[in-house]
Symmetry: C2
Subunit: 570 residues, 2 copies
């Protein structure tokens, strides 16, 4: 490819719209352009990267026994109504009516439609397991689309669905996909971690997320360096820190005027925040509930929501709490609560002589003892894990790092097969529900995550496997006929050798071309200049390391091949 | 691939919903399933065929200098309003609003968005020509989607857009695409013809359609066997058949009671229909106009519409005509018409002493002479060409055949660059409009057309280049261990040789497998049966010719390769 003909419009300035580095660099390097909020055009270089990622995914899915198909983007409302998700998705779903007034959505995911397909086509255990996947656009009408390809409204995904006879089969399919996903991200040249995750709205049980590690990541990954424990922070557990039981002292009401926060109360009473019970009221689908965690901990609302099993969970308004318990936030506590379910973290359930609000403005209780002074309806892990907390497996202090979620795998069980009625006949002719899994990779998001992980101040540093091209040949001066001739010769030689190469044949200054080469992030840059003509050598620069070397013209192809090989395996 | 694991649900019965053979066979062979009216899921075999077609297209587009990108499916209304097509498309366009109430459509085509992109990114003649393409879903909310993939509402297209400095450049790009399209369809193994076409709603000047020839085709292609003239019937011209001028006779009113049609009038007056003028009134965007063609011809309404340049054209209601001309249909004619533009076919304009309605119920005029008895506002070819008409190039009688449109190329000129403002600076620094072309291939439609052209009563007969797999190996009895073993060995051997092969390892009767093999249309079928064990030969059946041959086991791979080669080039 000749750069003079390539549509790769690079920008010198950072575009105002870009908030994260991948967005900024993809715009600047001419990989994408915005068509509308959260909707992008992939320009030729961007699309080449996408195709490489898609091909790696395809190969690994096929190797794992997946069959590729293509489901529709526009999906009739009826199936979504059958699983109840037509309502659940709310404003996040793009909806439209056809000319006859029939309702459709633009698929945000495809569980409904594929389960319906399999229900109609499969009826015997002999036809299972079945692993079906597709790669195509998905739609989510984000309230505030941002971060370029990281949170778009139209984005590319690979989604695979597994159908098995039973739980055991599902687990085998799940493991196959877990391994295939590991292969995909490894082959893409990315540093990643698979972590335990919360299944969220998709439902089902076990789930893992695949995180590309990057400082700019929105998600926090908690992991243990000793054992192999790793989890999304939303899902992560830590070993409860239970201190020794004390002899219970009598409950004591103390005046704590204008002392409301944990810090204020702890300071006022000269006690560690560990001795305090943090009392929080939530509205769980309009029902008021109470959650208790230790004073020095943060609550993990996702755990609470999953425990309660509600659709919507939010902190209760101060007024509502005050109306029910008779005190302002800051003085509320579990003692004497009636008709409100209390969920307590194990660390709270095991406390002795703790401090809690007294449900009376300006007062707290000392010597609160769970069980004696209030009844816990459910003891459940509600704690948001922090770096340094103890690993739930081995007790070692946990590490935390930031990551970008690029894939997630779910054990769905029979949630969708039950709603849609996807059954098969087993060996004895009995009808049974298929047991499902689903597995997604954000293809366009993986491209963005790769850049978040691989860049410097000058631009992108592509891993070889997903670089749009591997080599750029730059004649320093297009006015020097000899330079142009050698550059063209090398370009042709590399092309003939099957290497993905471009020649920057534009009549621009060398500085402009060097800047563009760094920005676009070709793994190798070949410079044909004065010295090439005088000494017969070409300068090869390795984008990732910055290393430069003079290589005799006759050995360029061989060296390029060797360097690409080294970069691919390092 | 093992058929036991392949999701290829074949049907014994013809599905009631299928109206055409490609639809019926794609359903029966398990290539597609309907998700909603005009919306399909492509099952694994169907998707393999699509991918093969897409790969051929990609290679030819790239070879012709095309760069692949990916434009959004959801497009903001604003750009469409800029070209006026937001209104033109009417109900055929799927429209939706996002959560903030902003209007979008699902792209039925991408001229607007790509012209806007190029406008923003290109500003110099040095960056032209530019050929950009994509392969992805398109949307058209057909009133009555039917014929399976032939007229769907969600379908796959390749669309390329060319941007040139001038008309001359556009013509070069056009020719490149014309050639690339010919290569695509030839490589797909299809019998096709490129014909002159009407540009329709896309606008612009020269246009060609690529027609896959098939008896079931909706379109009629007219072509000359002597010269290379070929055109869509809607666009086709024929040499006017002008008979010698006669001396003008005086206009004569004759009573023709209850004689209305051309045949009735001709019979009543004992004249050839060639002597009659057929007078038709149309509403062109509400304006009443009159079109004249010779009595023995049919009118081509598309030509009339293009001539008039209106948005909507339809035959005027009898009442409206009667109110204006004072006579019932059957007795209307051009003599004495006032305030109505008259468009006459050249054959009419040159008539002498013709017959026409007198605009008086029950009467016709004899000896009507255009020019003398009425004024023609425009002489223009309005005739619908028939088989046997004279070639406009060389006069030879024309042939007609049926075809399915699978691709169309257009010289757009500056229609879109002007509306969107896509300009560049030429060699002298002057701003000029880019000159565009656009070029589409219906990818999913090509799959359907291939089947319309290549099938028999038993199923599909795939051209090798786009067959989902090339070979099926069938062990006659899966209970005979030796047969299974040899079949598995052959399967492995063919796989290792890089041949696209499946093994039908299902525990079904051989008859079922043979029927499926014919239905799915693998080019070659290998049967491993009793004789294989006794004599060491395998039966190879060629799907296209029905030819069967016994081949020694040791020579199977070599023979398969040779047969595929022969089938590919024949």
């Amino acid at each position: 490819m000749r750069v003079s003909q390539l549509l790769a419009p690079t920008l010198r300035e950072d575009p105002a719209e870009a908030e994260v580095v991948s967005h900024r660099l993809m715009l600047r390097a001419g990989f994408i352009r915005k068509a509308a909020a959260g909707v992008y055009t992939y320009l030729p270089l961007g699309y080449r990267v996408l195709q490489k990622i898609m091909n790696i995914i395809r190969e690994e899915m096929n190797k794992a026994g997946g069959q590729e198909l293509l489901l529709p983007i526009i999906q009739p409302a009826e199936l979504w109504q059958q699983t109840g998700r037509w309502d659940v998705y709310g404003e996040e779903m793009f909806r439209l009516n056809d000319r006859h007034g029939r309702a459709f959505c633009l698929g945000p995911t495809h569980e409904e439609i594929i389960t319906d397909l399999v229900k109609n086509e499969i009826n015997s255990y002999k036809q299972l397991p079945l692993l079906l996947y597709q790669i195509q656009n998905k739609y989510r009408d984000e309230k505030r689309p941002r971060f370029g390809l990281m949170r778009g409204r139209e984005f590319i995904m690979k989604d695979l669905y597994s159908f098995d006879k039973d739980e055991e089969g599902m687990k085998i399919s799940y493991q196959k996909m877990y391994d295939a996903y590991s292969n995909v991200f490894r082959r893409c040249g990315l540093e990643f971690r698979a972590v335990e995750a919360d299944p969220g709205a998709i439902g089902g049980g076990t789930s893992h997320e695949f995180m590309v590690l990057a400082d700019s990541g929105e998600a926090v990954v908690v992991y243990c360096e000793k054992c192999d424990y790793a989890a999304n922070r939303e899902k992560a557990c830590a070993k409860p820190d239970i201190y020794e039981k004390e002899e219970m002292q009598p409950l004591e009401l103390v005046h704590t005027p204008e002392v409301r926060t944990i810090e204020e109360v702890a300071g006022f009473l000269q006690l560690s925040p560990k001795r305090l019970i943090k009392t929080l009221f939530y509205e769980a689908d309009d029902r008021l509930i109470c959650a208790l965690i230790r004073g020095d901990r943060e609550i993990n609302e996702i755990k609470l929501k999953n425990t309660v099993g509600c659709l919507h969970l939010k902190l209760a308004a101060d007024e509502r709490v005050a109306a029910v318990v008779g005190a302002e936030t800051g003085f509320v506590g579990p003692v004497g609560l009636e008709g409100i379910d209390i969920y307590a973290d194990p660390e709270v359930a095991e406390m002795s002589n703790a401090v809690a609000g007294a449900n009376k403005n300006g007062y707290h209780y000392l010597n609160v003892n769970p069980g004696r002074d209030f009844k816990v309806d459910m003891v459940v892990d509600l704690r948001l894990v922090q770096e340094g907390d103890s690993c739930p497996g081995c007790g070692t202090p946990l590490h935390a790092t930031k990551g970008i979620e690029v894939g997630q795998v779910f054990q769905l069980g029979t949630k969708y097969s039950e709603a849609i009625g996807a059954k098969y006949h087993d060996e004895h002719g009995e009808e049974r529900l298929m047991v499902m899994g689903c597995y997604g990779i954000g293809v366009s998001r993986t491209m963005a995550a790769a850049i978040e992980q691989n860049h410097d101040k000058d631009g992108i540093i592509w891993p070889v496997a997903i670089a749009p091209f591997h080599v750029v040949v730059i004649p320093v001066s297009t006015k020097e006929e000899e330079q142009v001739q050698v550059a063209e010769q090398l370009y042709q030689e590399l092309l003939d050798a099957g290497i993905e190469v471009v020649i920057d044949d534009r009549a621009d200054r060398a500085g402009v071309k060097f800047k563009d080469a760094d920005l676009i992030g070709y793994p190798l840059r070949l410079t044909v200049g004065k010295r090439t003509i005088e000494e017969g050598t070409v300068d090869i620069k390795v984008r990732r390391t910055g290393e430069e070397m003079a290589v005799p013209v006759a050995r360029v192809t061989e060296t390029v091949r060797q360097l690409l090989q080294e970069l691919s395996t390092s």
